[in-house]
């Protein structure tokens, strides 16, 4: 942008002030990212460096934070809980999300496209606590009826709810990725007489590969970090699930369920913050990877 002529006096001063403010706000996102890491780390740091056992945390499934005789903080079962629910959610959400993205992008007229995109947007707007409530009432009943189990709050319930929650993000980002494929690719393929399905899986899917991968990654990030829905829908069993009908508890749900009861700055309280650091690190890595993948597309 061209250099602008400077005007003397109060105007310049006001301009300087507003520019400084804009610069400060401009870097606010960086400040908050560091702030989040700093404060979460700060609350958990004392225990992290004194008495925290990494081995126990990652490899033991004995989570007894309030035991009178022998307190243990083994988070393996919680990690397995998060992993199982996320895996099931992705097994459902990835094919359905990408399928819907293909359908909206390639098989719809402009009107249907607009309607479907709005619907997906509304689906994304449903609050997680309402999803949790749906899991607690509707899904719970359905699972008890269909599978004849005594309780329907389990991996299956949480997985389906999480799938529905992460589908909108996969659809909208996947659709963006497909839109970014140059029309000349489509025209060239159609000129060769391909059907739309051939166009999708021979031309568009490979061309938009990175964008679609990023969409899936962001969906995973969403599923790993989701709290209220899984808190309400997966039951409260701290154990490694052996089937889809086992109740589990995720990392996020553990923080939400136990933080209120843990005394401030006690070991238990600090371990919950350490789980927070773990979650922050996981989602940070996922988002960074997604960002780098998309950026790679633009450059290449």
């Amino acid at each position: 942008m061209p250099a602008l002529p400077k005007r003397p006096g109060i105007d310049t001063l006001a301009e300087r002030a507003i520019e400084a403010l804009i610069r400060l706000c401009g870097v606010s996102a960086i400040l908050f990212i560091f702030g989040i890491f700093f404060f979460v780390f700060r609350e958990g740091s004392q225990f992290l460096f004194h008495g925290f056992k990494f081995r126990e945390f990652f490899f033991s499934q004995e989570w007894y934070p309030t035991s009178q005789s022998h307190v243990r903080y083994g988070a393996l079962a919680l990690i397995a809980g998060t992993a199982s629910v996320t895996l099931l959610a992705m097994a459902l959400a990835v094919p359905f999300g990408l399928g819907t993205a293909f359908f909206i992008s390639e098989f719809c007229g402009p009107r249907a496209k607009e309607t479907l995109k709005i619907t997906v947007e509304l689906l994304a707007a449903i609050p997680s606590v309402v999803w949790g409530f749906v899991g607690l009432t509707v899904m719970n009943k359905l699972i008890i009826e269909i599978f004849r189990t005594p309780i329907g709050l389990n991996v299956l319930n949480g997985g389906v709810i999480l799938a529905l929650m992460s589908v909108p993000i996969i659809v909208s980002i996947g659709e963006d990725a497909l839109k970014a494929v140059p029309d000349s690719y489509r025209e060239a393929a159609i000129a060769l007489g391909v059907t739309r399905w051939q166009l999708i899986y021979r031309v568009l899917a490979p061309a938009a590969r990175n964008g679609l991968l990023a969409a899936v990654l962001l969906g995973v990030g969403r599923a790993v970090g989701e709290t209220m829905a899984v808190l309400m829908a997966t039951g409260h069993a701290v154990k490694i699930p052996t089937s889809m009908l086992d109740s589990v508890r995720t990392l996020t749900a553990t923080i939400a369920a136990e933080l209120g009861e843990a005394a401030v700055h006690s070991d238990h309280y600090q371990v919950l913050f350490i789980i927070g650091i773990l979650l922050f690190t996981i989602t940070f890595a996922i988002n960074l990877a997604a960002d780098l993948i998309v950026r790679g597309v633009r450059r290449g």
């Binding site: 804009i22 962001l218 922050f280 997604a290």
Partner: protein, 294 residues
């Protein structure tokens, strides 16, 4: 003239199959929205009334309405957006108007993306550590609102940036050429031409802030608090409040013996408010798009 070969028939079959399967997938994604909303409204119907909105929960939250959580949610949403909107808009102005692509903007953009992906429960931990304990606000409406503000900030930045980028560069050049400073250009030309887009982004965050539970449950929202019915100023900035989302969680999981319609009614009010706000944003967007002259 053209004989359908076996190859072309197979090609067509695949095409039809793909179309059908993808359509079914889309239907299965879209159907839950309609089914869920329909089912919730059906279950909540007997209890929905103006009285339900305007009376406090009573009898250990087993009777009465949702006045105090409803007002609490309004407080949290309004205060959080009052904080997040100016910061977010100025940040977007910085990114779009004051810098070119360089390492700093790349780091900022990456931070915005990552901030949007931080799990809501980690936001709760941050709010507890930073606002409640470190800043000494205690568990209060203000601390909870600030936590929500940090959470909504990245999306406001992203949507505002998009709205600013949609204003053509010649608009700015014309303004500079008559001697306006950079800020004057932004204030008199860029912002008026993008206010609709900015507004849409902010409106969408209303529904996001209203629906969140995890970030506020340890930073200022309590299970139960009775307030004066009909008084819109019943909460104070430094006191605690109730919130709809938290209330739904409480009465559906923590309190035994709640009549069935009560949580459904709360869910429908929350969902209805969120969907209505979203629909409003979509309408604004469609209207703007049809009226845009460039």
């Amino acid at each position: 003239m053209f004989q359908a070969t076996r190859f072309s028939r197979r090609k067509r079959r695949y095409e039809l199959l793909a179309r059908a399967v993808l359509f079914l997938m889309t239907l299965l994604i879209v159907a839950p929205l309609v089914l869920i909303v329909g089912y919730l409204v059906y279950q909540a119907w007997p209890i929905l009334s103006l009285d339900f909105l305007l009376t406090n929960p009573r009898n250990g939250m087993r009777a009465g309405g949702i006045w105090s959580p409803l007002l609490g949610t309004i407080y949290l949403v309004v205060i959080s957006l009052l904080v997040a909107t100016p910061i977010g808009v100025l940040a977007a102005i910085f990114l779009n108007e004051y810098t070119r692509e360089n390492w700093l903007t790349r780091v900022i953009n990456m931070s915005v993306l990552n901030l949007a992906g931080v799990p809501s429960i980690v936001h709760a931990l941050f709010g507890l550590g930073a606002f409640v304990l470190f800043a000494g606000l205690g568990k209060s409406v203000l601390a909870a609102s600030l936590t929500l503000a940090v959470m909504t900030l990245p999306v406001i930045i992203a949507s505002t940036k998009e709205a600013l980028a949609a204003v053509p560069v010649p608009f700015r050049e014309a303004c500079w050429n008559v001697g306006a400073t950079r800020w004057q250009t932004i204030w008199h030309v860029v912002l008026p031409n993008s206010v609709g887009g900015i507004l849409t982004g902010v409106i969408l965050q209303v529904s996001r802030a209203a629906g969140e539970t995890a970030p506020i449950m340890f930073t200022g929202v309590v299970f139960y608090k009775a307030i004066k019915e009909g008084d819109p100023f019943a909460y104070s900035l430094f006191g605690q409040c109730m919130a709809l989302s938290m209330h739904l969680f409480t009465i559906s999981t923590q309190v035994p013996g709640v009549p069935k319609a009560l949580p459904y009614g709360t869910a429908v009010v929350l969902l209805g408010a969120v969907l209505a706000v979203n629909a409003l944003a979509i309408l604004v967007r469609l209207r703007l798009r049809s009226r845009r002259k460039w």
